[in-house]
C-alpha cells in the first residue's frame, strides 16, 4: 500500500485546453543523486505547471542500507514535499514493475530516473532503469546524470545476514541432525525422500536464521547427501554421472529456496512495520478527525506521538506576535531559556535541532519543524533518553508524517479562525449597512417634516392662517417626539448589543411598570380602549423596571402600529408554574404564517415603509426578556389579531412578608 506523505495533491492550473494534463514522476533511491533528481523534477514540474511525485520503492534491501544512505533518502523525500511534490513510498520487491504501475495509474507524462546503479555482484542483473527503458510507455523518460559521478560509488550492501556465527552453527547442526534422521529412517537409501528431507531442512534454516546459514546448509546438505546417501557410500566418488546432475539440481534448488524464503521473510517484516506505522498514523488521524477545536486535538495527537516514540512530547506554536509559545503536551523546564532559543531557531530555519542532532545537541529536547505546505506552523519537541531511536531516518520519516498531520490541523485551525473572523466582520458589516439604510430613512422622514414645517413657518408666516400655523407647529412637535423615541431605541439597542446594559434588578409591581409604559404612550392611545388586567395577588417580580417598561412600550407601540385605530388592546397578566406571564393582544391583521419568529429579528418589519420604525423594537424586547431569564414569543390570536406573550421567572419570594413590614411612625 503506498504511503502518501502529503495528502493534498498540488495541482496548479491543470489547464483545460491542454490535451493531456502533465504529471511528473521522479524515482529516487538512496544514492546521493536523490536530492539532485528531486530538484530537477521540481523544476520540470514548475515549467510544465504540473503536479509531481517522488517515488521510492522500498525493497527488502532497504533494511540493510547504511545510515548515510537512509539519511540521504529521508532528505530527498522531505525535499520533495517541501518543493510541493507528493512523496510516495511503496514497499515492493520489484522496483521497475512498481514504478511502471505507479506511472500508469497516475497518468505520468514525464518520468525522471537517475543513471543505473553500478552493481558489485557477479550476477549482473538488469537494473530497474534498463527495464524501464525496455518497457517503454506513454511518457517521456529522462535519465538525469548525477551531479558528480563519484558519489555514485555509494555502496549498497546487499543483505548478508550479518556475522551471526551462532546461526551458522545452528545451520550446521540442523544439517547434521537431518543426516542422522535420514540414516535412521531410510538406511536403504530412498534417495528422493532423503533429498526432500534435506531441502526441508534448508527451508527451515532459511526461514529461521537467514540466508547465509541457509546457503551454508545447502552446501553442507549436498555434501552430506553425496557422502552418505549416494553410491559409493561414505565417499565423494559418484557411481554415475546421473548423481552429479542430482547433486547439481539439489544445490541449485536449495540455494534458490534459501533466497526465496529470505526475501519472503524480509517482505513480511517490511510489511508488518509498514502496517504498524500505517495503523498508528491512521489511529492518530482518526482521533484528530473527531476533535474540532485545536485545543482538544493537540493533546490527543501528542499523546499518540508520545506513545509511539516513547518520549515526552510538546508542541510550540507562534502566538499573535509571532513568538513561539508552549501550546500543549508535557511542559518542560527551561530555566536558562536555551530550550526556547533552540525551538525559536528551528521555527525560523525549518531545520531539526537539539539532542542527538548536529545543531545545539546540548539541550534535552529534539526540535522538529512542523511544515504545512510551504511554511512552518510550529515546532514539535520530543524528549527521550535515546534520541537516536527517534532520529534514525526511518523513525524520522514516520514522525514527519505524523507531524504533517499535526501541521495541517494547525493550519486548518488557523484558516478556520480567520474565516470565522471574516464571517463575523461580514455579519457586522451587513448589520451596519442595514442599520444605516434603515436609520437614514427613518431619521430623514421626521427631519423632513420638521425642516419643512419650520421653513414654511419662517418664510410664509404672514400669509398663513392661524389654523395652518398651529398644524405645522403640531407637526414639528410630534415628529420631534417620534425622532426622540427612535433615537432612544437605537441607543438602547446599541447599548444592549455592546453588552453595556447591566440589569438593575429590584422587586417591582408589574402593574406599575405597565402603567408607566401606558403613561408614556398616552398621546398615541387617545382613540384606543386599553384594558389592563392583573390579578390583585400577583406577586412582585425581580426585574429592571426601566428595561421592562421598554418591553411594554415596544410591544404596545407594535400593537398600535399594526392594528387599526379604534380597535382595543388588552394587557393581561397571570401566574403559571413558577413564572409570571404577560400577554399583550390586539385586533389587527395579525401575523402572517411563519412570521412568528421573524418579527423578533433585527431590522425585520412586517410591512416595510408602512409604519415608522427601524424594526428594532421587538428584537430589543427579546434581548431584555431573555436577559431576565424569561422568554418572549408571538402567535396568531384566535379570532384575529396578534398575541405577544412573555414570561419572567418568579424566583424567590420577598425576603419579608408585607404584613410584617413595620407600621412605624405615628398615624
Amino acid at each position: 500500500m503506498p504511503e502518501e506523505l502529503r495528502s493534498e495533491p498540488v495541482n496548479p492550473h491543470p489547464g483545460e485546453e491542454q490535451p493531456t494534463p502533465k504529471r511528473v514522476l521522479v524515482c529516487i533511491g538512496p544514492s546521493s543523486a536523490g536530492m539532485h533528481l528531486v530538484r530537477q523534477a521540481a523544476a520540470l514540474a514548475a515549467d510544465l505547471q504540473a503536479p509531481w511525485f517522488a517515488l521510492y520503492v522500498e525493497t527488502p534491501a532497504h533494511a540493510s542500507l547504511t545510515a548515510p544512505d537512509r539519511e540521504r533518502l529521508t532528505h530527498a523525500l522531505r525535499l520533495a514535499m517541501q518543493l510541493g511534490g507528493q512523496a510516495v513510498k511503496v514497499p515492493s520487491t520489484r522496483v521497475s514493475q512498481e514504478i511502471l504501475d505507479f506511472a500508469r495509474s497516475h497518468g505520468v507524462t514525464h518520468l525522471l530516473v537517475g543513471p543505473p546503479r553500478r552493481r558489485h555482484r557477479l550476477m549482473s542483473r538488469r537494473s530497474p532503469v534498463d527495464r524501464l527503458i525496455r518497457a517503454g510507455g506513454d511518457w517521456c523518460l529522462s535519465l538525469i546524470p548525477a551531479p558528480g559521478e563519484e558519489s555514485f560509488a555509494s555502496t549498497v550492501q546487499l543483505p548478508t545476514g550479518g556475522p551471526s556465527y551462532g546461526n551458522y552453527a545452528r545451520g550446521v547442526i540442523a544439517v547434521g541432525l537431518c543426516s542422522g534422521l535420514a540414516a535412521l529412517f531410510f538406511p536403504s537409501g530412498a534417495q528422493v525422500n532423503v533429498v526432500m528431507l534435506y531441502l526441508l531442512t534448508v527451508v527451515a534454516v532459511a526461514s529461521l536464521w537467514g540466508r547465509g546459514p541457509a546457503i551454508l546448509a545447502s552446501c553442507l546438505s549436498v555434501t552430506a547427501f553425496a557422502f552418505f546417501f549416494v553410491p559409493h557410500y561414505y565417499s565423494f566418488r559418484l557411481e554415475s554421472m546421473q548423481y552429479g546432475i542430482t547433486l547439481g539440481v539439489m544445490l541449485l534448488v536449495s540455494t534458490l529456496i534459501s533466497n526465496l524464503t529470505y526475501h519472503i521473510r524480509m517482505q513480511q517484516r517490511l510489511e508488518r512495520r509498514q502496517e504498524r506505522q500505517t495503523a498508528a498514523l491512521y489511529e492518530m488521524i482518526r482521533s484528530l478527525a473527531v476533535k474540532l477545536r485545536l485545543e482538544d486535538l493537540l493533546p490527543v495527537a501528542l499523546a499518540h506521538i508520545s506513545k509511539i516514540f516513547g518520549s515526552q512530547v510538546a508542541i510550540l506554536i507562534p502566538n499573535a506576535a509571532g513568538k513561539l509559545e508552549f501550546q500543549a503536551g508535557e511542559a518542560f523546564p527551561d530555566v536558562t531559556g536555551t530550550e526556547s532559543e533552540v525551538a525559536e531557531w528551528v521555527y525560523r530555519h525549518g531545520h531539526p535541532a537539539g539532542a542527538g542532532t548536529e545543531i545545539a545537541s546540548g539541550v534535552k529536547g529534539i526540535y522538529l519543524p512542523l511544515w504545512a505546505s510551504d511554511r512552518i506552523v510550529g515546532v514539535l519537541r520530543l524528549e527521550t533518553g535515546e534520541p537516536t531511536l527517534i532520529l534514525n531516518p526511518e523513525a524520522r520519516l514516520f514522525l514527519e508524517a505524523l507531524g504533517n498531520q499535526l501541521a495541517l490541523a494547525i493550519a486548518h485551525d488557523r484558516l478556520s479562525t480567520q474565516a470565522e473572523q471574516v464571517q463575523v466582520e461580514i455579519e457586522v458589516e451587513r448589520l451596519r449597512n442595514a442599520l444605516l439604510s434603515s436609520v437614514s430613512h427613518d431619521l430623514r422622514t421626521p427631519l423632513t417634516v420638521i425642516a419643512g414645517s419650520a421653513s414654511s413657518l419662517l418664510e410664509a408666516e404672514a400669509s398663513l392662517d392661524q389654523e395652518t400655523k398651529r398644524e405645522l407647529t403640531q407637526n414639528i412637535y410630534e415628529e420631534a417626539r417620534r425622532l426622540d423615541a427612535l433615537v432612544y431605541n437605537l441607543l438602547e439597542m446599541s447599548r444592549i448589543q455592546a453588552g453595556e446594559v447591566k440589569l438593575n434588578q429590584e422587586w417591582h409591581v408589574l402593574e406599575e411598570v405597565a402603567g408607566c409604559a401606558l403613561e408614556r404612550l398616552n398621546p398615541l392611545l387617545t382613540d384606543r380602549q386599553v384594558t389592563v388586567n392583573f390579578p390583585l395577588d400577583l406577586p412582585l417580580v425581580q426585574m429592571d423596571a426601566l428595561l421592562m417598561e421598554r418591553v411594554f412600550i415596544n410591544l404596545l407601540e407594535n400593537a398600535i402600529k399594526y392594528s387599526p385605530s379604534g380597535t382595543p388592546i388588552d394587557i393581561r397578566g397571570r401566574v403559571s408554574e413558577g413564572f409570571v406571564q404577560v400577554e399583550i393582544t390586539d385586533r389587527g391583521k395579525g401575523l402572517a404564517p411563519g412570521e412568528e419568529e421573524r418579527v423578533f429579528e433585527k431590522f425585520y418589519q412586517a410591512a416595510p415603509g408602512a409604519g415608522r420604525g427601524v424594526g428594532l423594537g421587538l428584537s430589543i424586547c427579546r434581548r431584555i426578556v431573555e436577559a431576565h431569564g424569561g422568554r418572549i414569543w408571538a402567535s396568531r390570536r384566535p379570532g384575529g389579531g396578534a398575541e405577544f406573550r412573555f414570561i419572567l421567572p418568579l424566583g424567590d419570594k420577598l425576603p419579608l412578608p408585607v404584613e410584617s413590614f413595620p407600621e412605624a411612625g405615628e398615624s
Binding site: 429590584e506 409591581v509 402593574e511 406599575e512 402603567g515 389592563v532 412582585l540 426601566l546 412605624a664 398615624s667
Partner: protein
C-alpha cells in the same frame, strides 16, 4: 415683581428657545453657559429658580448643586436626558428639587416652575393650606380625611401618612428614599419593594384605574409624584 429664573445650560439653541418661552410667560430670564458663570450669576443676582443642565463643559451638575446649596436654598430644577436615572436620584439627594427629562415641552417646564415657586412662597409665609383638591380627590390635612368623588376613603394610618408626604410635595418628585425616610424612618430607606406595595394599595383606593393612575404618578427609577391639576 417678576420671578427671576437663572438657566445654566451650555447649548446656545436651548438657551434661545427657553429664553423666548419663559420671557413671554412673564419671567425675568438670566442665562449662563457654564457652571462657574452660573454660580457667579446666582450669587450676584439671587434668582428665584435655577434651571440646571447636566453635562456642563466645566463642572459636574452635582458639584454645581452642592456649591449652590452651601449658601442658597433656591429651588433647583435639573434638566437631564433619559436613561440617567441614577444621576437624577444623586442630584435630588444632593439638594435639587425636581427634574425634567429632555426633550420636554414648555407646558411641563412651566408646571415644574410653578410648583417650585410655590414651594419657595410657602416656606416664606409658613401658613400651609389644609384643604386641598386633586381632581376627584380631596384631602383635609387638619381632619385627616380623604374623599374621592365626594365619598370618604378609608386609608390605613401608614397609607394616609404616605399620601400626606406626597401631598406636601405635590407636583414635585419625591424619591423612594425620601418617602421611606419620611414614612418609616431612616432605617428603612432601602426597602423600595414595600414602598411599591403600599403605593399599589393606595392607588387601588384612590385611582379610577390603578393600572393607569391619574394622580400618583410613577417616576421610573426615581420615585413618585402627586399630579396637581
Amino acid at each position: 415683581m417678576k420671578p427671576r429664573i437663572l438657566l445654566i445650560e451650555d447649548d446656545a439653541n436651548i438657551r434661545k428657545f427657553l429664553r423666548a418661552s419663559l420671557m413671554t410667560q412673564g419671567y425675568e430670564f438670566l442665562e449662563a453657559g457654564n457652571g462657574r458663570e452660573g454660580l457667579a450669576l446666582a450669587a450676584a443676582q439671587v434668582p428665584d429658580i435655577v434651571l440646571l443642565d447636566l453635562g456642563l463643559p466645566d463642572m459636574e451638575g452635582t458639584a454645581v448643586i452642592q456649591h449652590l446649596r452651601q449658601w442658597s436654598g433656591v429651588p433647583i430644577i435639573v434638566l437631564s436626558a433619559r436613561g440617567q436615572e441614577r444621576q437624577k436620584v444623586a442630584n435630588l439627594d444632593a439638594g435639587a428639587d425636581d427634574y425634567l427629562t429632555k426633550p420636554f415641552g414648555v407646558g411641563e417646564l412651566l408646571a415644574r416652575i410653578r410648583v417650585a415657586l410655590r414651594r419657595g412662597a410657602v416656606a416664606e409665609t409658613e401658613r400651609p393650606e389644609t384643604l386641598l383638591n386633586f381632581g376627584k380627590l380631596t384631602v383635609d390635612l387638619e381632619k385627616r380625611e380623604v374623599w374621592r368623588d365626594q365619598k370618604p376613603v378609608h386609608l390605613t394610618p401608614i397609607e394616609y401618612k404616605l399620601f400626606t408626604v406626597l401631598v406636601r410635595h405635590r407636583g414635585k418628585v419625591v424619591t423612594h428614599r425620601q418617602l421611606l425616610k419620611e414614612v418609616w424612618g431612616p432605617s428603612h430607606t432601602d426597602q423600595n419593594a414595600y414602598l411599591r406595595i403600599f403605593i399599589l394599595n393606595l392607588r387601588r383606593k384612590l385611582e379610577d384605574d390603578p393600572a393607569r393612575p391619574m394622580h400618583i404618578i410613577t417616576e421610573p427609577g426615581v420615585g413618585y409624584r402627586l399630579r396637581e391639576e
